[in-house]
């Protein structure tokens, strides 16, 4: 079993949470099910949040019981087949400048069985989706790259990658909002920051947004650091 089958489970997460998990492992099918379920679950709980393969329904136990939330989730699950779904069309498309270079990129390419040039081309060709936002505020998990990008973590942690670092992690790309320690390989660097503490709308991305990376040089990324969105452009997509 590789954990990728779509077998929805309704599970407890704390005294005020119900977690609907579609699969144990990440996959485009699980994420499509997550996106559909999260859209339809509005109103079942005080807070509905999608992650890679699960949806969290956080409820106020003073206003509704766990049994009510679970019954609502189970009714939604019973209403359709959750395997074999596709992503809905994106509401927004982000184009984000990135400098793809460095020693870890060469390493990641080799682990994926690609030349560095092929790796770069695949990263730029992928139309990615924001599959989850989490770990740190505003931090996107972007997926999915082709199966051969399912590469292991480094043996050791990198003590610090800079804010704007793009790392590759189990067919996903993660864009770090702040300096961080990581076990994943840094394949690029952006001036785009998905979390802007001082802004009116501090969280820039939403789950389901589409995102493409566009190649620039390291010097161009430096120059874009002062721009409000680090040179990223958002298009409302049909």
């Amino acid at each position: 079993m590789d954990g990728a089958e779509i077998t929805p489970e309704v599970l407890p997460l704390g005294q005020d949470g119900v977690l609907v998990r579609f699969a144990r492992a990440v996959s485009p099918q699980a994420s499509a099910a997550v996106a559909r379920f999260a859209a339809e679950a509005e109103g079942l709980a005080e807070e509905v949040a999608p992650a890679l393969a699960s949806v969290l329904l956080r409820f106020d136990p003073g206003r509704r019981t766990r049994a009510e939330v679970v019954a609502g989730a189970e009714a939604l699950l019973a209403a359709q087949d959750w395997g074999g779904l596709y992503d809905p069309p994106p509401r927004r498309l982000w184009r984000v400048p990135v400098a793809l270079e460095g020693e870890p990129l060469a390493e990641a390419a080799e682990l994926a069985g690609l030349t560095e040039a092929e790796a770069r081309a695949e990263l730029l060709a992928a139309e990615l989706r924001v599959r989850a936002i989490g770990f740190a505020p505003g931090m996107p998990y972007l997926g999915y790259l082709p199966e051969h990008w399912n590469i292991p973590r480094q043996r050791d942690l990198t003590p610090k990658v800079p804010a704007g670092a793009l790392v590759v992690a189990v067919r996903q790309l993660v864009l770090f909002p702040t300096d961080t320690v990581t076990g994943w390989r840094m394949v690029g660097r952006c001036a785009f920051r998905p979390f802007r503490r001082e802004a009116e709308a501090p969280f820039v991305l939403s789950p389901g947004d589409a995102l493409r990376f566009e190649a620039v040089t390291a010097g161009e990324v430096e120059a874009l650091e002062g721009e409000p969105l680090g040179g990223a452009i958002c298009e409302g997509a049909a």
């Binding site: 954990g3 599970l11 407890p12 997460l13 492992a25 890679l52 136990p61 770990f135 740190a136 969280f203």
Partner: protein, 338 residues
């Protein structure tokens, strides 16, 4: 509005309130006080409608002065404190007047002490709360020389009150409910976990607390596991199979397997454990965990009913003659339920 002058401060002091719920989908944990019960106690003592922001002190306090009379109290960790030679007890209100210096020392028991003011700490508001959330770059440690805005105290002369705090200092048993990944741990691993005596490791902060123990790692099935939601109280087994319990300022998703979740009522006991103090976990069912849930409004109402007038030994009162000793008049509503 009045001002709190920070004359001197220990490391690790931040402004905390009940945090910012509702941002899980954006990657922001609720945050707020590590010991939420301590802010509920302070709110009951100071007659706040709901808990206002206070200073959270990670093990030691500082010296403080105000420019307008205000009632204060200390809750959470038991810290030695005095105002110009008058001892300030744990969980009791006192008046701090301009020209006086409040000294708050180190924690004698517990890890997080709270210095609360009747009108609350104002500080900067972000997304509806004033709590520092250092992981998100929100707020900062309080520094010597800071002037911090306080809300006004509209009844500084109200009679002093005292509350018997819920016992939670010094470690002990923590109830654990099942979580989405409990089944990844074999029954014998779970049984060993619930039979193990842990102690709080030196590594602890507002994100979480690491635990030490004797014995082999707590292993689980982890291959191919997608990162999933985390909630406060989750007991995560890091790569080396050792527990790390997540607190208020945790990450919102993570990839390590979690054996279960410490229920909300017992998180203050975990947060207040000092390094080396013994902790153990007690398995409860989902139904038992849900039955143990109590809204924070209900907790505050319960605490309000438990308030008592502060009776002091007259020998501890240097300015005895300035007190109104006859009528016992209070502000009127401190002892009533809402």
């Amino acid at each position: 509005m009045s001002v709190l002058r920070v004359l001197d401060i220990a490391p690790g002091v931040t402004v905390q309130d009940m945090g910012r719920p509702g941002w899980i989908a954006k990657g922001l944990a609720r945050g707020g006080a590590a010991d939420r019960l301590a802010l509920l106690e302070a709110a009951a003592l100071l007659g706040q409608h709901h808990p206002l922001a206070a200073l959270e002190m990670a093990g030691a306090g500082g010296r403080f002065a105000v420019d307008a009379p205000t009632r204060i109290c200390l809750t959470g960790a038991r810290m030695k404190a005095e105002i110009e030679g008058r001892p300030l007890g744990h969980c009791e209100t006192a008046l701090l007047a301009p020209g006086e210096v409040l000294r708050v020392g180190g924690a004698q028991a517990g890890a997080y002490g709270y210095l609360a003011f009747a009108g609350g700490v104002l500080g900067e508001e972000w997304l509806g709360a004033r709590a520092a959330h250092l992981l998100a770059g929100v707020g900062r440690f309080v520094a010597a020389g800071d002037d911090i805005a306080l809300g006004p105290d509209d009844a500084p002369e109200a009679a002093a009150l005292v509350l018997e705090p819920e016992p939670r200092l010094g470690g002990g048993a923590l109830r654990v409910m099942p979580g989405p990944q409990s089944g990844l741990f074999a029954p014998e691993v779970r049984a060993r976990f619930f039979g193990t005596e842990f102690s709080r490791a030196p590594q602890a902060n507002r994100q979480g607390v690491r635990l030490d123990f004797e014995g082999p790692a707590f292993e689980s099935e982890t291959s191919g596991l997608a990162s999933d939601f985390i909630t406060g109280g989750d007991i995560q087994m890091t790569g080396d199979g050792r527990p790390y319990v997540l607190l208020a300022e945790s990450q919102t998703v993570g990839g390590y397997p979690r054996i279960g979740t410490v229920i909300a009522a017992d998180l203050p006991r975990l947060a207040q454990a000092q390094a080396g103090e013994a902790l153990r976990f007690q398995e409860v069912s989902l139904a038992e965990a849900d039955a143990a849930w109590e809204s924070e409004a209900a907790v505050q109402a319960r605490l309000r009913k438990a308030l008592r007038p502060r009776l002091r030994d007259p020998r501890d009162i240097p300015d005895l003659l300035s007190y109104q000793l006859v009528s016992g008049v209070t502000g009127g509503n401190e002892l009533e339920d809402e």
